[in-house]
């Protein structure tokens, strides 16, 4: 069958219209297969055995005892596992975290480090054998405690310069009418996505196939190729459905060990992490110790700003949680200093987790701003409006669009901010003290080079193929809408296939850049395809396919400060007799560029805000100092917000147009969490008069806080 391209109905307007997930039916009926569920003939199952010591060397592994257990096929460890290469720079321009390169030597750098993979015919057999495996260690003393004055701390760049400085900070502070100088801490936090990490590896005619759950099929493909010294064309990674990632789903021990086992055993091998294993193998957000110093003149204009942030990393990999980066975008002062430092401890490597840097950094600086507003006697929103910078405080570059003020004005109107009595500890409803708080939010709007394949099919439909990842966010649906508009057809005529490295290089689902990057590539491909079809071409049975690559277009984009912005509002109730804090109401208003699918965008923003509630009140992984491992690392011990913790919550957006941007999409993946914890903490102060500078604001901390004295606040 062939179809002439004339006579197509011209349609526009899919983008901006609410659309349910195109794969929603598959997901709710179970037809959608996740990585751990895809059936394979002759599948073997690997189970990771993890170290019980926090530092030392493996002395012995008693493999003989478990090799005789039912169904056991192999035990891989540092003495027999294939060698891999970690001396390379990956797709994201950074070296790999050697944590993923398992079984290369006898060194144990943290508790919960993989020391062996037991492979058996069934997962139950593999698990039983892995748990029976006796490993002895030469244990060494460990240091797992992050302290703000740790002698091992040093400046580290990560994905931005470690330190920035202009002006004379001491002089700026000395000449300020009002000064805030406080320390803030945030705890170790974990991604805790629903779907655990899972991968199946097999060799198929000299080609390595990996079925995985990840945030970038090409990303994992290229990393595996480099690590195993294979040609990229000899590796294919597929990741069709993903039950959440939040930054944790890159290259990790499960894919690498599955590939090793498939190589050794010549059959498909699946490795799935347990929830407990994820707490030491899947990355996490480092705890931070931050110090903020603000100096303002009599009318609240900042003269001096310092934000320092310290995080921990492992002894084998330097990961920076750049808490101080947020001040480089948000607030200017003549004297301006920011610094991100790290300290290497005997702990797992931290990694990207929803709004890395901005999430903990905004807690510190947006709390400090609230404290400054209190000292200046200014409304917290007015203080922020008075300090809106003209250009990037550090870069000096213009903002592509900065609609923070519009977010605050719209949010204040809808939240009823104007009626707020600024005094703390004044409102009571039964046993509850009530308060409201606000905070600003920002997150970078970037893009990464991507390629897309777009096919005009002979039946009049269109197929997009792009190595995008839908983490459950609705990316597949968003791209369907983008493609439909770009092709001027209805979304029903567009099929979007994603999550396959064979589709070519593409940006990962990360950094709030996925949809922006992929939409760009799809839009370019659609432009080319429409030009081809405009000639009245007849579509042959195999269709007409065009390929786009945004590398050049991205390089041509003008240098600007490109960010999403937002204003967070929270109302809390605090029972100071029990320490319970409840978030009754929360509203976030965002300026996040063009919103592709209002339905899933609101999901993303509200989801981020709920995580902000969780960050403010619940989430905390506690490291046991004597063993160096986590205390109660499971979802009973690690609390995330439940439905009952979330009151009346809504997110919305203001018009945010950037004429200079060919895509207009900024990304909504991360900004929802930014500032949310600070808004809650500021509301707790407003309710009680007590500042909480350490998260989470647990009942014991509320109870132990000094009761406010008349006319003044207190600290906790």
């Amino acid at each position: 069958m062939t179809t002439a391209t004339t006579g197509r109905t011209e349609v526009k307007g899919a983008v901006g219209t609410a659309h349910t997930r195109v794969e929603g039916r598959d997901k709710v009926t179970g037809a959608a297969r996740y990585a751990g569920e895809v059936p394979f003939a002759d599948l073997a199952h690997g189970w990771l055995a993890l170290s019980t010591v926090a530092r030392g060397r493996v002395r012995s592994i008693d493999t003989d005892a478990v090799l005789g257990m039912p169904g056991v096929l192999a035990v891989l460890h540092h003495g027999n596992a294939p060698r891999v290469d970690t001396d390379y720079i990956g797709l994201l321009g950074i070296p790999p975290d050697p944590t993923a390169a398992v079984f290369q030597d006898d060194r144990v750098p943290h508790a919960g480090w993989p020391v062996a993979l037991v492979v058996a015919e069934t997962p139950e057999q593999a698990r039983e054998a892995a748990e029976a495996l006796v490993v002895t260690y030469d244990e060494e003393p460990h240091d797992t405690a992050l302290t703000s004055d740790h002698p091992g701390a040093y400046p580290a760049d990560g994905h931005m310069p470690a330190e920035t400085e202009k002006g004379d900070l001491a002089a700026g502070l000395a000449s300020s009418a009002f000064v805030v100088d406080e320390e803030y801490t945030t705890p170790e936090e974990h991604h805790s996505m629903m779907e655990p990490h899972a991968a199946t590896a097999l060799w198929d005619g000299g080609r390595l196939e990996v079925i995985d759950s990840n945030q970038g099929a090409t990303w994992v493909q290229t990393e595996l190729a480099k690590m195993f010294s294979l040609d990229e064309s000899a590796v294919r990674v597929r990741s069709e459905h993903i039950g959440g990632g939040f930054g944790s789903k890159g290259l990790r021990a499960h894919q690498v060990s599955a590939v090793m086992a498939a190589t050794v055993l010549h059959r498909p091998v699946r490795v799935v992490m347990t929830r407990r294993q994820m707490f030491s193998l899947a990355g996490y957000r480092s705890p931070t110790a931050q110090r903020v110093r603000l100096g303002a003149d009599g009318d609240g204009r900042l003269r001096a700003l310092e934000h320092r942030s310290l995080n921990q990393t492992s002894t084998v990999y330097e990961f920076v949680e750049p808490g101080a980066g947020v001040a480089r975008v948000m607030y200017d002062a003549d004297a301006h200093r920011t610094a991100n430092h790290v300290v290497r401890l005997d702990v797992p490597s931290p990694t990207f987790m929803r709004a890395p840097g901005e999430a903990p950094g905004s807690f510190a600086i947006e709390s400090a701003l609230d404290e400054l507003a209190e000292r200046c006697g200014l409304d917290p929103i007015e203080l922020r409006l008075r300090n809106e910078p003209e250009a990037g405080p550090v870069s000096g570059l213009p903002f592509s669009s900065r609609n923070l003020a519009a977010c605050f004005r719209e949010g204040a109107r809808r939240f009823g901010w104007a009626e707020r009595d600024p005094r703390p500890g004044m409102r009571r409803n039964g046993r509850w003290l009530l308060g409201t708080g606000t905070a600003a939010a920002s997150f970078g709007a970037g893009a990464g080079p991507s390629t897309a394949l777009l096919t005009a099919e002979a039946d009049g439909t269109f197929t997009v193929r792009i190595a995008a990842a839908d983490l459950g966010t609705g990316a597949r649906t968003a791209l369907t809408l983008v493609a439909a508009d770009a092709l001027e057809v209805t979304p029903e005529r567009v099929r979007v296939r994603i999550g396959d490295s064979d589709f070519g290089p593409a940006m990962i689902a990360g950094g709030s850049m996925g949809t922006r990057s992929w939409a760009w590539a799809i839009t370019e491909a659609a432009r080319d395809l429409r030009e081809r079809l405009a000639l009245g071409t007849t579509v042959p049975p195999e269709g007409i396919t065009v390929r786009s690559d945004t590398t050049a277009a991205l390089g041509a984009l003008a240098q600007k400060e490109r960010h999403s912005f937002g204003a967070q509002f929270a109302e809390v109730a605090v029972d100071t007799a029990t320490g319970e804090v409840r978030v009754r109401r929360m509203l976030g208003i965002f300026a996040a560029g063009r919103i592709v699918n209002p339905l899933t965008a609101r999901n993303q923003l509200v989801g981020g805000m709920i995580w902000g509630i969780s960050m403010a009140l619940h989430e905390e992984a506690v490291r046991d100092r004597s063993t160096g491992g986590l205390y109660a690392p499971d979802l009973a011990g690690y609390h995330v917000a439940t439905h009952a913790d979330v009151g009346d919550i809504d997110a919305d957006w203001v018009e945010d147009h950037d004429p200079d941007d060919p895509v207009g999409i900024k990304g909504v993946g991360e900004i929802g969490i930014v500032g949310a914890a600070a808004a809650v903490a500021n509301a707790v102060w407003h309710a009680t008069g007590v500042r909480h500078r350490s998260l989470p604001i647990r009942p014991d901390r509320v109870l132990s806080a000094t009761a406010p004295t008349a006319g003044g606040g207190a600290d906790a």
Binding site: G629, Y631, P633, P699, L703
Partner: protein
Amino acid sequence: MREFGYQRAGDVSGAVALIAADPDARYLGGGTNLVDLMKAGVERPARLVDVRELPLDGIEPTPEGGLRIGATVTNSDLAAHPEVRRRYPALTQAVLAGASGQLRNMATVGGNLLQRTRCGYFTDLSKPCNKRAPGSGCPAVTGEHHNHAILGATDHCVAVHPSDMGVALAALDAAVTYETSDRQGKSPIADFYLPVGDTPHRETALPPGALITGVVLPPAPVAARSRYRKVRERASYAFAIASVAAALDVEDGVVRDARLAFGAVASRPWRARAAESVLIGAPADGTTFGTAADAELAAARPLPDNGYKVTLVRNLVVAVLTELAEEAAR
């Protein structure tokens, strides 16, 4: 996870006989705690004897005017029972404060009483724990213990009992009935849980192989005005950091009868008899309530990071008793 056998018991004596024949077997109720512990490797039974289908799922009046609750009654059915709700409202509230709807549909009364502590050292094989591995030590004393015991603990173990239901049962003077291969027995809940001492791995007075058959609630007119309040680190689906079950009978402004028990403060539901003796006969006011709480908490021995529980329990006692007294005065 160890492979295990599974058998469904047809009657009580059959279940007891199966367990008596195999010291490596365990009773399986709702499995809401045991199966988790099996996955974690804390429990490694060779065989499970499923008792959930036994005819122990009734709630019946007793000749004395109380209630007899079968061991396999689910938490959901217990909480919803009209007589429980009317005569022992604190029990309904306690059960509903625990777990989630799905778990309460599975969990049984007998299993609830026997659930194990959620101390993170106990549930983690990579760490020492005297309760799980006697003699290995208790890292909580110097480690993470902000939700550990302030009453009745020893250096051997500072874990707390996780049950909400058990706290209400302790306040209500419930007794646990059980059956072994050669006898039937009954243990008042005050004696059911053993003191920690230096044997924290020995938790109850149940004879080896005994099957809990039910719980007997004596008549307790005071319980008609009773309350359970639980504080936890999120609004739902978390174990208590402190809880209070209280019943109060006030006449002419004077406390005529009172029941008080605390949760999440000790290795067992903590009956606050010292507090009750202050309350009974005293004016039903905040001063009395505070004094009563202080009398009980005088024995508290908090650790460096859980001293807040003393304040929290005191505040909870005052708040809950004040609420009940105000209700009585209406």
